[in-house]
């Protein structure tokens, strides 16, 4: 792989300029923010935005916790992207819809349980059942997807399964819209204790966000155990490393790939129902943006790298949450929260410009190493 020492062509100069510009903007914004916190009403702040207020600790930690909880969900979804890319070398564009399926089925189940009274009377049982059903449905979706749309394309140039996955994504989105009706559907009301704040150290965390973080951590733990300590996990790692050699070692590659999809799907399903609980509603488009952001998170952390995927998710979630207040507003951008989604993409572009292999390095299979 060639590595350019210094910029020589116009494109190189432009890219260097972009890197410098983005870094400068971020730094400047952060510095302006800090100055504003320490000395509100300083001349710079007045010049840029006289209405800006200081960020209180409550608001700040609220943003941090929001960012982390969303980031945790991005991380869970990112695991699926990362695993599939590590093993098969293509982006499963439809993985975001697997997440949406989890959220949708969670909505259906929880509403049914609510009608049956279980949701209110015995919430823990209800939530467990709902999570289980979500996991089953999203895993099923992922497995069917692999069998029908991707397996026949094994070995094709990698843009082809990507395009197929766009078709699958479209299909699932619109299946939901047509079968279940378009528009937003709500989850039933959460019990009070989930909507109150829980104090942990200096943080006051909203119950449901704490739930998200805890469940995400448990899922990561379960995944770690599966991948590092079980035979199945070892097979997954072997296939991710080199499919051909793995099959020569006696590993059933097809089955392992199905398992990879299933595990990724399960993680996304968990993220789905967590999302539904956190935001209270779901539409057929719920999977689209988080899906792309989760893929970005996987890239940011280093594609193929599971720990990196979660780290990337948390990073992306926090950046998305904090950047509007910490960088954009001090720079004078009005309506900064509207650009939250744009932040996620900008982080992706920035990482690809500066360190394309991601924060923690890629882990690709032998066939896909560029």
């Amino acid at each position: 792989m060639r590595h350019k020492a210094a910029p020589r062509t116009g494109v190189d100069w432009f890219l260097t300029f972009l890197r410098v510009l983005l870094s400068a903007l971020v730094t400047f914004g952060l510095l302006a923010f800090i100055w504003q916190q320490i000395d509100p009403g300083n001349p710079l702040a007045d010049a840029i935005n006289p209405d800006a207020t200081r960020l209180s600790w409550d608001a700040f930690q609220g943003l941090v916790i929001s960012g982390l909880s969303q980031g945790a969900m991005y991380g869970l979804i990112a695991l699926g992207y990362s695993m599939v890319y590590g093993v098969l070398g293509f982006i499963n564009f439809a993985h975001g819809e697997v997440f949406m399926v989890g959220a949708m089925t969670g909505m259906i189940t929880s509403n049914k349980l609510f009608e049956a009274g279980v949701w209110e009377d015995n919430f823990l049982v209800a939530i467990l059942v709902a999570v289980l059903i979500s996991i089953i449905c999203s895993t099923l979706t992922a497995v069917v997807m692999e069998r029908v749309a991707y397996r026949p394309l094994r070995g094709s140039p990698r843009l082809i399964p990507l395009i197929t996955s766009i078709g699958v994504s479209f299909f699932i989105q619109n299946t939901s819209a047509v079968l279940l009706g378009p528009g937003a559907k709500s989850y039933p009301r959460l019990p009070d204790w989930l909507r109150d704040d829980v104090g942990i150290g200096p943080f006051d965390i909203e119950g449901k966000k704490l739930l998200v973080l805890v469940v995400a951590a448990i899922s990561m733990g379960a995944l770690w155990y599966l991948v590092e300590r079980t035979k199945t996990g070892k097979a997954m790692r072997a296939v991710a490393e080199d499919k051909e050699i793995a099959s020569l070692m006696g590993i059933d590659v097809d089955r392992t790939i199905v398992t990879t999809f299933a595990v990724g799907g399960a993680m996304a399903g968990v993220a789905g129902i967590l999302w539904g609980i956190l935001f209270g509603s779901v539409t057929e488009f719920t999977g689209f943006l988080p899906g792309i952001k989760a893929f970005s998170a996987a890239v940011v952390g280093g594609i193929g790298n599971l720990g990196g995927a979660m780290a990337g998710g948390l990073t992306l979630g926090s950046s998305e949450s904090l950047a509007p207040q910490l960088v954009l507003e001090p720079l004078g951008v009005t309506g900064h929260t509207q650009l939250k989604d744009a932040v996620a993409f900008l982080v992706l572009i920035f990482v690809l410009l500066v360190k394309p292999t991601g924060l923690f390095g890629e882990r690709l299979s032998a066939e896909d190493r560029a």
Partner: protein, 607 residues
């Protein structure tokens, strides 16, 4: 399977009716059941029932169910014959297989009917209602419905299997007849317009019923016509084509000139005979065709998957809006449209370079996602309050005057015919540009980059510049479309520039065949014209709910079966069917063998 590969071995006798791969049959039966249930639950049978194909026999709604058992009955009995395998004659076995598959499918549908009657699953399945039950049972009750579908589905499955028993000619006839009838029914309102314009109402009335749909006699007439075409006229047509081809080799300039004049004449005269609605529809088709031709250069020729292509559409639209609308916030020079076009081109080049430069060195799939991100960033920025000083934010820009062409005529959205002419002019430009570039040094460089980027570099091609050029040309074509769109609608809102648009354009390019202009045109016509664009209804407005679902399914199907699209570019076909192509070439004796060289007769002259 290549038709040139006729197994020289004799065909084995037909297998017994009960000599089945039962597992395969049952599997496909279950798949059929799921498919029928799925289609029913989407409510297609009910919603599409109003579109009659042949009155009173068949409506589009029932067609949506009926084609599936036939198709699957056919698939289950397909025999993949490779060299060395014995091929069996087709017989009762195929019929029985189709029958069983159909029966199982029918059972599934029967189950659904029974459930519809006895249970209420309308939460969460929104289409779970009596209307659906009515349609499925023809209003005659559950018993009737159950019996009907089991028998009919079995029968249709058997028919699907029976297709294998027919000689090739019969299959072609059946296909031609069904296609003609369905197409005619689908294009009913367009045909109505055209017949009015050309004073051929009598023909229209002979074919169609007053209240919609073909009449039985109309269907028969069309069937006869289709048969005549396949049997006689088709042969004549290809002879004629060959004659024209030969003439073309002799006097290319004259033939091409005549051909172009004919096409131009047709293009100019046609809108005058079509009604407002049809013209409007064709305008939409044209706008998407323009976008698709641009993306065709980026994806089809240079091999760059740009999922954020709608960004350039937006750049064109917003630039035109800002430059021409007197009420555009911030900058408002209120230039005439034809002057603004130059600025639009400039902005497109800037945008193309700005978006292209960072992504040009990335892996193909990363590039796809990042361009998607760029498209979204642009849309979000344009919508935000921050940029609204320029772009009007969520309120958009209004009061865009029509397209002022050199001060001579102003094309307004209120006159669909004029707009259609404008669109056709730009489409012609785009086709010309694509054609010329494809057969030039630039086009060859693009194709080489698409084939093997590092080797292309080793052959002296600056791949970065090459790819950027493709990006910029694609951007310019898209921005043309955006500028016309802005003038036609009279306003621009960010909601017209969602990712959905990029994906629909991609579907058109892929389904139509990447790299081939005729294919892309066919794709745009069929998809946007008949089913509808992302925000616009097509000729068959009732498909609005389902069109995206169909697009998704189409994309998956195309990638699995023929990644190069319905009318493939010969070149791309080779890429993806290399094995088959090589076999064909070998069999036809055109493949290369080494004893060919007359250069040296085996003797070597020393250095």
């Amino acid at each position: 399977m290549s038709e040139t590969m006729n197994p020289t071995s004799e065909m084995a006798p037909a297998r017994g009716a009960l000599d089945q791969d039962w597992r395969k049959v049952v599997n496909w039966g279950l798949i059929l059941a799921l498919a029928l249930i799925f289609v029913s639950l989407t409510d297609m049978p009910e919603k599409l029932d109003k579109r009659i194909i042949v009155e009173p026999l068949l409506s589009m709604g029932y067609l949506s169910l009926v084609w599936i058992p036939i198709a699957l009955g056919n698939i289950v009995t397909r025999e993949v014959v490779l060299e060395g395998m014995t091929q069996h004659k087709k017989g009762a076995r195929e019929l029985v297989a189709g029958l069983v598959v159909g029966a199982i499918g029918g059972l599934g549908l029967a189950l659904l009917i029974w459930l519809l009657d006895t249970r209420d699953l309308s939460d969460p399945l929104v289409n779970w209602n009596d209307a659906l039950l009515e349609v499925l049972t023809f209003g005659e009750g559950v018993g009737y419905g159950v019996l009907f579908w089991i028998l009919v589905s079995a029968g249709l499955g058997a028919i699907g299997g029976a297709i294998h028993l027919l000689p090739k000619l019969a299959t072609r006839l059946l296909l031609a007849i069904s296609l003609t009838i369905v197409l005619a029914a689908a294009l009913e309102s367009a045909l109505d317009d055209i017949s009015e314009g050309f004073r051929l109402e009598w023909l229209f009335e002979a074919l169609f019923e007053k209240k919609g749909g073909l009449s039985v006699q109309g269907a028969i007439i069309l069937a006869v016509f289709a048969t005549a075409w396949v049997l006689f006229l088709g042969g004549q047509a290809s002879k004629g084509k060959a004659i024209v081809q030969a003439k073309r080799e002799e006097t290319p300039v004259a033939v091409n000139a005549i051909g172009l004049t004919l096409i131009a004449a047709g293009a100019i005269l046609l809108p005058m005979f079509l009604g407002r609605l049809t013209n409007d529809l064709l305008t939409n088709v044209g706008l998407f065709l323009l976008l698709a031709l641009g993306l065709n250069i980026v994806v089809g020729l240079a091999g760059i998957l740009d999922l954020g292509y709608v960004a350039f559409f937006a750049v064109g639209g917003y630039t035109a809006a800002i430059m021409t609308s007197p009420s555009s916030p911030g900058l408002s020079p209120a230039l005439p449209w034809w002057v603004a076009i130059f600025i639009v081109v400039f902005m497109a080049i800037v945008a193309g370079l700005f978006i292209g430069a960072p992504v040009i060195r990335m892996r193909g799939d990363y590039l796809a996602i990042v361009t998607l991100g760029f498209g979204e960033i642009i849309r979000l920025t344009v919508r935000s309050d921050w940029a609204s000083g320029f772009t009007g934010g969520a309120q958009g820009i209004l009061s865009i005057p029509g397209a002022d062409i050199f001060g001579v005529v102003t094309v307004k959205g209120t006159d669909p015919q004029q707009v259609l002419y404008l669109v056709m002019a730009f489409v012609a430009i785009a086709i010309y540009v694509s054609w010329r570039l494809e057969n030039s040094r630039i086009g060859r460089a693009w194709m080489a980059v698409r084939e093997d980027e590092s080797v292309a570099e080793a052959m002296g091609i600056n791949t970065v510049n090459s790819k950027l050029q493709a990006f910029v040309v694609g951007a310019i074509l898209a921005s043309f479309s955006g500028a016309i769109f802005a003038a036609k609608v009279g306003s621009v809102f960010e909601s017209s520039f969602k990712i959905l648009v990029s994906i629909v354009i991609l579907v058109i390019v892929i389904v139509g065949g990447m790299g081939r202009i005729a294919g892309v045109a066919a794709g745009a016509l069929v998809l946007v014209g008949i089913l509808g664009g992302p925000n616009q209804p097509g000729l068959l407005a009732e498909f609005s709910e389902f069109k995206l679902l169909i697009y998704g399914a189409l994309l998956i199907w195309m990638m699995l079966k023929r990644p190069e699209g319905l009318i493939p570019n010969v070149r791309r076909s080779r890429e993806l069917h290399q094995e088959e192509f090589l076999q064909d070439a070998w069999l036809k004796g055109q493949a290369d063998d080494d004893d060919d060289g007359e250069a040296t007769n085996g003797k070597v002259a020393p250095a």
